[in-house]
Symmetry: C2
Subunit: 259 residues, 2 copies
């Protein structure tokens, strides 16, 4: 079991602070075991804490009055959530629910608020982390505009893969297909149809949560034509788990899990 | 013609700095007249400046190799763009083109970079501005997931309207319909069909760029059911032109234009 300071050091938000500052956060941090389906907080609840995922998966989402859900993000090891409530009148901007059981760390939001006002290094780290997230969201919106559903699944798989690999590749879905569909903003039936079309178009082989292919080229040719960035994805290449796993990107997440 | 300091004070990013700091930016600022279609910079160009829109509209977008465009945002008076390149290895994260002629202010990005490292008030302002943008993007992604095309057009119109109005309402589109379609991530033909469906469902009357209705309720009932936020939209209510027109939201933009 890793030390709480090491967990904090794994995050993009707090990882590069000096030891004294990390100790301040560690002293107030609480480790919490989580169970699948556990609701951690509700959209527009008053924020008392922000969180770091130690293990497992956490789903961030918002809901309409009739219960339709929009998934904001799905996070794992090293990812921080709830922290932007300090810019949202102290209210959580989404709900959070445990998608796969594990562990989280809870830290009082008041501590983040006071430290960020005093510590320029922390506010720069928060800016970097928000810029990273902004880029990811921009790309997500771009893909929702340009890519069809099958291309988006292909892109999701490519971001899980070791993008430097040559030859045959095996990719494991990090969580169940229904959740992958929500993460991609698709209905489960749209996801199934689109996955079927992706299999036909690229010859990838899908068995449960495992996807096999002769080489990544099949997916690259199919998906990356409808993207303004080049393959391999620069944002993934720039991420390493130890330095900045605070990115909310699933590809990075997978690498951290595997590390 | 407003003074360059007043233009800077209109922005969310720089507006609340003290006079001395605003003078530093104003001294290095350049006013530039813009013409429709003018390309201001290209995605991944090295960033030398960031910009403030004084008048007119600027389209931010990215393009795939085959020329398919994804519109990132469309900005007007008081909006800042290009500023996040300081977190993107100094490269612009999108291209920028003038959508409607007007005027912009250009300020060296090196100045922003050095000031932000020294001035905690500026880094907090940048955090607030990025948090605002993040919320807007989160909502955009939510709507792309939950709302159908007609509901999204309805939502776009509601955000242009005076949300406190009772009785008959007239809304003017701020730029041409093709651009509205791109802004909403739709093909022009999808936009036309969806607008037709919206007219049928809500009884709104569309003539060119003018939309009339007996009351906003028609659109609210139709669009806001598929949104996790309540009407009136809190983010618009919280915005006032003088305080924080740096929001990249079209509703605010319209208010600023009308102010």
């Amino acid at each position: 079991m890793s030390d709480i300071k090491d967990i904090i050091k794994q995050t993009l938000l707090l990882g590069r602070l000096d030891d004294e500052c990390i100790r301040v956060f560690a002293d107030k941090a609480q480790r919490i075991k989580t169970n699948k389906g556990q609701v951690l907080f509700i959209h527009e609840d008053e924020a008392e804490s922000f969180f770091i995922v130690v293990k497992g998966w956490v789903k961030l989402f918002r809901e309409t009055l009739d219960g339709t859900q929009a998934v904001v993000d799905i996070l794992t090891t090293g990812h921080v959530f709830g922290e932007t409530s300090i810019f949202e009148d102290g209210l959580y901007p989404y709900s959070a629910e445990v998608a796969e059981k594990g562990e989280i760390v809870s830290i009082p939001i008041s501590l983040l608020k006071s430290e960020i006002e005093q510590n320029p290094k922390l506010s720069m780290a928060m800016l970097t982390s928000m810029a990273r997230y902004r880029k990811q969201q921009d790309q997500e919106l771009e893909h929702r505009t340009i890519q069809n559903a099958s291309q988006r699944i292909g892109c999701f798989l490519l971001r899980l893969a070791d993008q430097g690999a040559s030859g045959p590749v095996v990719i494991h879905l990090p969580y169940d297909k229904t959740l992958v569909a929500s993460r991609l903003g698709m209905q489960p039936e749209t996801f199934s149809r689109a996955l079927g079309k992706l299999k036909q178009a690229t010859g990838i082989y899908v068995k449960g949560a495992t996807i096999e292919m002769d080489s990544l080229d099949q997916l690259v040719n199919y998906s990356c034509a409808a993207c303004s960035s080049e393959f391999p994805c620069k944002d993934i290449a720039a991420n390493t788990c130890s330095k900045d796993s605070g990115s909310t990107d699933s590809g990075t997440a997978k690498k951290c899990l595997n590390a």
